[in-house]
Amino acid sequence: MLAIFDYKAGNQTSVHRALNHLDIPNQITNDPDKLAAADGIIFPGVGAAGQAMDELTCGGLDEVLKSLIWQEKPVLGICVGCQILLDYSEENNTKALSVIPGECRLFNASWVDYEGIAIRVPHMGWNTIELQHECELFDGIAPEANFYFVHSYYPAPKEEYVIGTTVYGRPFCSIHGRQGLWAVQFHPEKSGRPGLKLLQNFYSYSQGVK
């Protein structure tokens, strides 16, 4: 079973629907016992980092999540869930979870894209990922596959935690973490078949380590 970490993130039901479609048993919950019993945790997120951290800290859910990560429970952070695993986000000047060293920065709208014109912010739409290290989440996914992004801030973790990059004006980190603790800036639940495959891969990995 996968648990979708419930802290009222806007996309948690989208993740739930995608897992249902894949026939992956799953539950939206923030009950520490149910989370501990799950094979893996999906940590969703959409909207603003500050608001997400407020939701997490006011009920002590931040400590619940951190302790699961310390116990090496497989975790997949998505979008804002990916960003707030870092130390800090420029968005709302937010102190984040400090699970992975690094920070989250605002795209600079003066960066120039491949057409020679300034980028639009937010970065919204389909983009590709270049893996810097092998990552089992991408097993069976073509390198030219696109994933759906929508964000104005991008993760900038310490170099050794960068797993994959995406080019928007310049390369930024679109996947970071380590084996079993992955944080993706894009939305696998909204990325068509490649995204569903990634969720399936996360489930397979989670089942393998239990």
């Binding site: 995608a18 937010p122 739409g125």
Partner: protein
């Protein structure tokens, strides 16, 4: 590299898919859920649903459609039509839409944009704009005026100014429909598109006038739009989404080629 998006637009009335020309003479052309699913499987990058039902009964049917779509397609989709309050936004977002498009509701009450973006995040607030060419005047210096009610009512607002205002209030994207080009199949209004793209830094979707894939190419190159909205060109089977994408890729446009 960020791909240019191709977005089919589905007009829904009383739970059925319709397509009218210049917002009039709507005819039933199928089931919206089945059609959305087919477009998803054919590689649409996003889907827009527009509720043109007036009654509250029709609204319930529409929300039902949104829920069914959300459990069957795994790409983003937005919902517009009849969004006049934060509660209306919440209803479609909780039914499973990623984005909500405000149009005349925002013209009448611009605060709905800021309230919505505060509540749900600006990434899910799309400002839909219906725009008509007019003579340049002191009030409409760009020569493009905002209209509502399917183009029947002019608002005395300059489209370029309204786009800037919408961005400042917190819209995350603009869906820009040319009333003059809509239904003509002669191509998008590139002058309008480019003007709005230049005025804001958020993504702009060009809408109205697609009759051939070359028009989509123009919209994202000359027009500099981030995406192109299409309707009858695919609804009536003249072109399929894979053929459109292949055409665009052959013209050098960066598109999502596998899905």
């Amino acid at each position: 590299m960020l791909s240019k998006r191709i977005i089919p637009c589905l007009d829904v009335r009383n739970g059925r898919l319709t397509k009218g020309i210049k917002f009039e003479g709507n005819v039933d052309i199928g089931d919206p859920v089945e059609t959305a699913k087919r477009y998803y499987e054919e590689g649409a990058d996003e889907i827009v649903f527009y509720d043109i039902t007036a009654s509250s009964e029709g609204r319930g049917i529409f929300l039902d459609v949104v829920e069914q779509v959300a459990s069957q397609i795994f790409i983003p989709f937005s919902v517009g039509g009849g969004i006049n309050s934060v509660d209306d936004m919440r209803a479609v977002l909780s039914a499973g839409a990623e984005k909500v498009s405000v149009n005349s509701g925002a013209v009448k009450n611009p605060d709905i944009i800021s309230e919505g973006s505060l509540q749900f995040g600006s990434q899910c607030i799309v400002l839909g704009m219906d725009v008509k060419r007019v003579e340049k005047t002191k009030d409409i210096p760009s020569g493009f005026e905002v209209v509502i009610h399917g183009g029947r009512k002019a608002m005395g607002m300059d489209a370029v100014e309204w786009a800037k205002t919408g961005e400042a209030l917190g819209a995350g994207e603009i869906c820009l429909n040319s009333i003059d080009a809509d239904g003509t199949k002669d191509g998008y209004d590139l002058e309008l598109t480019r003007k709005i793209v230049k005025a804001v830094t958020i993504p702009v979707i060009a809408s109205g006038g697609a009759g051939h894939p070359k028009h989509m190419v123009e919209a994202v190159t000359e027009g500099r739009a981030s995406a192109a909205l299409i309707a009858s060109i695919v609804h009536y089977g003249e072109w399929t989404i894979p053929d459109i994408k292949k055409y665009m890729a052959d013209e050098g446009v960066v598109i999502r080629s596998i899905w």
